[in-house]
Structure formats: C-alpha cells, structure tokens
C-alpha cells in the first residue's frame, strides 16, 4: 500500500523536497505518519506541526483535501492510495 505525502510552502522550500511516498502494510494514523517523517527529516515535522502533542493552531494537515481536524485529528487513519498534504501555519488574502 502506498501513501503519498506532499510538502508545500516553507516545508517544500526549506526541505527542498516536494514530498515523499511511504509503503505501508496496514492503515496508519497521522500521528504515526509524523513519526515516520520525523525519522526521515530529523524531527522537523513534529516541531513544525505539533504543539504539546496536539496539532499546532494554523497547521494544515489534509487527507485527500479534507482537514484532519474535522475527522479524527491525529488519530485519523490513512489508507492505501490516500494523499496527505502538509502546510505550516499560513495565511494571505
């Protein structure tokens, strides 16, 4: 099973990477995904996305375009073929 993770904004510019794919045997939670990312990017993602174990206000984690804050937050399960998109707190207008 494959999960595609896309980086945008400062994540993309700072890491000079547009994303990463993970091959998984069974569905994993967002929390577990962040651990995987931390392994590959030296703890970068938990620092940027989390604040005392919760999703940092303003950070955006989408599964197939849906914000996980309106699903199961960090417990939201990622399944085969899902696209995860990550943004640091951002705004404009």
């Amino acid at each position: 099973m494959v999960v595609k993770v896309k980086f945008h904004s400062l994540f993309k510019l700072n890491l000079k990477s547009a994303g990463i794919n993970y091959y998984i045997d069974q569905p994993i939670s967002i929390e577990e995904l962040i651990k995987k990312l931390d392994n590959d990017f030296e703890g970068y993602f938990s620092e940027k996305l989390l604040d005392t174990g919760q999703i940092k206000p303003g950070s955006i984690i989408l599964i197939n375009g849906k914000n996980v804050l309106h699903i199961d937050k960090l417990d939201t399960l990622i399944e085969d073929g899902d696209n995860v998109t990550l943004f640091p707190p951002s705004a404009g207008g």
Partner: protein
C-alpha cells in the same frame, strides 16, 4: 495640526479650483474613527446616493486612518471612498505603501475632491503650499512614468505620489488608484471616478514627520504587538517568505481554487504558478513592506526578460492564472505588471477575461469581434496580456471588456457567466467550498470581495480557530463579527493582515492608548457595526436592493464537478435570513428603524 483626534481636512473644489481647510472634532470621530468609517459618513452626508458615479456630483475622498502615521504596526494605510462605478454601491478601497503616512504628516487627514476640472490637473501638497496644477504633460502616461515625472516637476524624489494610469483616464469601470507605483487602491473602480474628475494625481511632501498623539502610551502597546507578530508563524515567517501567494497550493488542495471562470475548483498546474514557484524559478528578488510594517509581505520580482516590478499577489496570480486556465507564471506576472502600470484592478481584469473566455468557447462571441487578436481560449497566455492592454485603452473589444464581466456578459445575452456579486467579480475562493465566506460575498457592501470579512481565515486556515467549511451553524455570527471588525481596522488605518495575530482587544488597546479614548472592546465593535450599517444604508438608498444579496446561479445549482469538494453547492440562502436577523435587520434585508436609532444613524 492639532491632536490626532482632530481631523483636518482639505476640500478641493476642482470645478472652481478652490481649496478650503476644515476641521472635524468630537463626536463624529468617536463614532466613525477615520479612514473608511469617517469618509463613508462624509460621503453619505454630502452626496445623493443616487448620483451617477462618473458625474461631477460624485465626490472622491482620500482618507487616512485614525492611527495612520503613528507607531502602530502597519499604520501607513489610507482609503479611497466614493460611489463606485462598477457596482453602484459605496466604494472604498484600501492601500498601503508610504503615501498615506506622508499625507497625514502633511497635516491633512483627509481630502475631499468635488466637481470636475475642465482639463487634466493634479493636486500638489508641498508642506503648507497646496496647489492645483496643470497635468497636461502627464495625462496619458502610465503609473511609473507619471510618478517619476511628477516627482521631477516637484523637485523632490522623496515626495509620495498617488495617481491613475491610462485605465483611470479612460474611465475603465475597474480602474485602480496606484500609489508609490506598486500599491493599489485596487477594487471597485475608484480610478475611474478620479479620471472622470480630470484628476491625474496627488503628490505630497510633508515638512516634518511628526503628529500629535500619545506616543509613549501607544509605543508600550505596539512593542508587545510587534513581538507577537514577529513570533507568529504566519505574520513572522510565512507572509515574509512567500507573500500572499502561499495560498495557491492551500486553496487548491482544499478544493476551492476557482478554475476556468469557476467551472471547476482545482487547477492541475497550480504548482507552476504558485508562490513557491515564484521563489523556485528565481523571479523573487526581495520582500518589501509598507510604512511601519513588521510583516513585509510585498514581492519584488524580476523576470528573465529583465522586466521588474512588484507582485503577483495571490488574487492577481489566480485571476490571470487558474481562472483563465493559464499555467505560465511569466505571463501571469507580466499581466500583473501591466495592470500596475496601466492602473487596473487585477482581480476584475483577469476574471473579466476569464468570463470572456467562457463566452467565446461556448460560442457567444464571434471570432470577428476579436479584430485579429488572439483567440479567447482558456490557457492562452497571449490573451491575458493582449486583452489587458486593450481594456485599459478601450480598444476594439477591450472597450466592452472595460465595463467588467457583468455588463460584458449581459451585452452578449448571458449574464449568468459573470461570476459577480453586485456586478463586482468574486476573488479566488469558490463559495461552494466555504459556506461562511459565501455568505460574506453576498453581504459585502462593495460587492464581490474577500476583504470585508475574510472567512477563509477560520474556515480554511484555522485562524483564530478552525471551523468546518461546510458547516452552516454559527457562520452568520462569525461573518457579522468579521465584517464589523474589518470596518474598524480599515478605519484606524492598519493592514488587515495584522488580524492574523491581533484581535478586537488589541485594536481597542491601540485606539485607547494612542488617541486617549476609553472604549470597551464591545463599544469599539459597535463602531464597526455602525460603519457597516451606514454603508448598507447608502447602498439601499442608491437603489441596490437586498435582492442583490445573491450569488450567480452557478454556485447554487451546479455542484463542484471534481476534487475534494466534489458535489458541494453554496447554501448561503439557508443562512441569509439568520444573518439579517442577527444584524437587527428585517426579514426583507432592510435595516429596521430600531437598529438605526440604536446605532445613532
């Protein structure tokens, strides 16, 4: 120049070439603050809301905010308030840069332009020397040329200029007023009103940079705010690095990035035209800021062909990009430069071309009408540049496009293809994907607009808290609060982007400490509500009925065809009555007598 709460205004009668100074004090300032609020009050009192916007009977007001020129973060802004030619509503357009602060330093908080000059003129403010001067040799020049020529004639390169380009002179209904070359009072066609008065520019140089206010007290508050603004991930890091164009991928990934005249809500080539691409392609040379701004979201850009300028901002890049189906960042940036130079509102310019593209592809525009110009097909980067020029100079089909998409589509027998509210084009968020923002569009007092109550902030970005975008419950209250709060920010002369960190209590602290008022946060919010209702009252008296609180049928009848928001429609009709009720208006959308009394209107 008196204390900050005394508003010194300049009344410029262009017909008779007379300039008069006046002062406003007391209650009016407490009730309307400055900027958008006070200028709206003056406009309402002094013109018949039914006037033809492009006639000499309309007035054009340049208004600095109550705190413009003080130490308040981003306190350099001014508003242009008039009756707008695109919408027929009250029009107020906000701009940053350095012009607003300089105007304030010169001792003029506000300028009211009346009548019409018999030939092109400009207003020159050189300290105490205020004159109406001949603009014959500048008329016809673009914004950059005009700015340089005016400074040369003035004899001081530090003078600040606000002017119109050819589009304003030609009364394009969505012409902007540009200051400091690249900053725009962009929307609602304020530039056309300036052009109709034969007023090319205002140039100002103050003798000194001091104004009388409670500086020490204000500084205490500002210091704390600045620290928070700098530490905030959005205002301290995201906006400086990526500007507003950080939004392209966010809005697209959330499935509400309007594409090909709002036919779809995701754009396959977003990465190509995004804020990240602007950095990666090496176009971005620097970030810049307006007066007193710790955020500095402006983009200084140089294209591979050597052309330099500022932008594109998110809305601009989208209007000429995804909305026209164009994936060429070079062309999009070039179109943005052109709009700045010619003095056009980028959102309406781009989206009017997008509307024309849909009409052309559906067979409602003949090829002959294009006068051998490029075909108006989605994806044509040639078209966005070609027709932008044609609009500004009103040449060929550009003369029709210069009326904006609503009048244009109507003239082709198909107004339903114009993505407008009250004849002003919608910005870069599909209302089918954000229910509160859709309600905000229909109730905005200046027509389709995102900066009258930026609901994207809670509904998508999670600031100050994350709301589910499709949820209806609670949204009318949020919209009302955001609209009233924005009216305050626009009236005190600060940038809306500060609100990604600051809240009502913070703005209240600024006003109270700097000016010496004793508002409670609730009282200040009531000032915002008063301003909002006054604007609504103006519009109702101008003949804009609540029937026009509506979205184009596409958004309530055609579901989003694909992407994360597939199948969604705008449900604003289900919450509009609740919004009216919360505002204390009748079920019919008219303001009740009781509400008017309650607000002292």
């Amino acid at each position: 120049m008196g204390f900050i709460s005394e508003i010194d205004l300049l009344r410029v009668d262009l017909t008779n070439r007379k300039i008069k100074k006046e002062t406003i004090t007391g209650d009016k300032v407490r009730k309307y603050l400055g900027g958008r609020g006070l200028a709206s009050k003056i406009l309402y009192d002094e013109i018949d809301p039914k006037v033809d916007p492009l006639s000499p009977d309309n007035k054009l007001i340049f208004a600095t905010g109550l705190l413009t020129g003080t130490a308040a973060s981003t306190g350099g802004r001014y508003m242009v308030v008039t009756k707008g030619p695109l919408t027929g509503t009250i029009a107020s357009s906000n701009s940053g840069g350095f012009f607003g602060a300089e105007l304030k330093f010169s001792g003029n908080d506000l300028i009211i332009f009346e009548g019409k000059a018999d030939k092109p003129v400009y207003l020159s403010i050189d300290g105490d020397q205020i004159k109406i001067k001949d603009a014959n040799n500048i008329w016809g020049k673009n914004v950059n040329q005009s700015t340089d020529l005016l400074k040369e004639e003035f004899g001081n390169s530090n003078a600040k200029v606000s002017c119109i380009g050819p589009a304003g002179e030609n009364k394009v209904l969505f012409a902007s007023i540009m200051n400091d070359k690249n900053r725009a009072a962009g929307r609602t066609g304020v530039g056309a009103v300036m052009g109709s008065k034969n007023l090319k520019a205002v140039i100002v140089k103050a003798d000194q940079k001091t104004i009388d206010y409670n500086k020490d007290k204000l500084m205490e508050v500002v210091k704390k705010h600045t620290k928070r603004i700098k530490e905030n991930g959005v205002t301290g890091e995201g906006l400086p690095a990526l500007g507003t164009k950080v939004l392209d991928n966010i809005i697209n990934s959330n499935g509400l990035y309007p594409t090909r005249n709002f036919q779809e809500a995701t754009f396959k080539y977003t990465s190509e035209v995004s804020g990240e691409a602007l950095v990666e392609k090496g176009y971005l040379t620097n970030n810049t800021g307006c007066y007193g701004c710790p955020i500095r979201c402006g983009r200084e850009v140089e294209l591979p062909n050597g052309r330099k300028g500022e932008g594109p901002e998110y809305e601009t890049g989208w209007a000429f990009g995804a909305d026209c189906g164009v994936d060429d960042l070079h062309a999009v940036t070039e179109a943005n430069f052109l709009c700045n130079e010619l003095g056009l509102d980028t959102i309406t310019a781009g989206t009017t071309i997008a509307c024309a593209m849909e009409l052309y592809e559906k067979g409602y525009i003949d090829k002959d009408e294009l006068d051998n110009g490029p075909e108006l097909k989605f994806g044509s980067s040639e078209s966005i540049i070609y027709y932008t020029k044609k609009m500004a100079y009103r040449e060929g089909i550009g003369d029709e496009l210069a009326m904006g998409s609503y009048r244009f589509a109507e003239s082709k027998g198909h107004p339903e293809f114009s993505m407008t509210v009250k004849k002003q084009e919608l910005p870069a968020y599909d209302p089918r994907g954000v229910q509160g923002h859709g309600l905000q569009y229909v109730t905005s007092n200046r027509g389709g607009c995102h900066v009258r109550g930026y609901m994207i902030s809670p509904e998508i970005l999670g600031v100050p808290e994350k709301l589910e975008p499709q949820e209806l419950k609670g949204k009318p209250e949020w919209v009302k609060t955001f609209q009233d709060l924005t009216a305050i920010i626009d009236s005190i002369g600060m940038c809306l982007f500060t609100s990604f960190e600051l809240g009502l209590e913070d703005y209240n602290d600024l006003v109270n400490s700097g000016v010496g008022f004793d508002f409670s946060p609730e009282q200040l919010l009531k000032v915002g509500e008063r301003i909002y209702n006054l604007e609504r009252k103006f519009n109702l008296e101008a003949g804009i009925t609540p029937k026009e609180d509506s979205l184009p049928a596409r958004f309530t009848e055609k579901p989003i065809p694909n992407g994360p928001q597939k199948g969604n429609l705008s449900k604003y009709k289900e919450i509009l009555k609740e919004y009216y009720e919360l505002r204390g208006w009748g079920q019919d959308g008219y303001i009740t007598k009781q509400k008017l009394n309650d607000l002292g209107l």
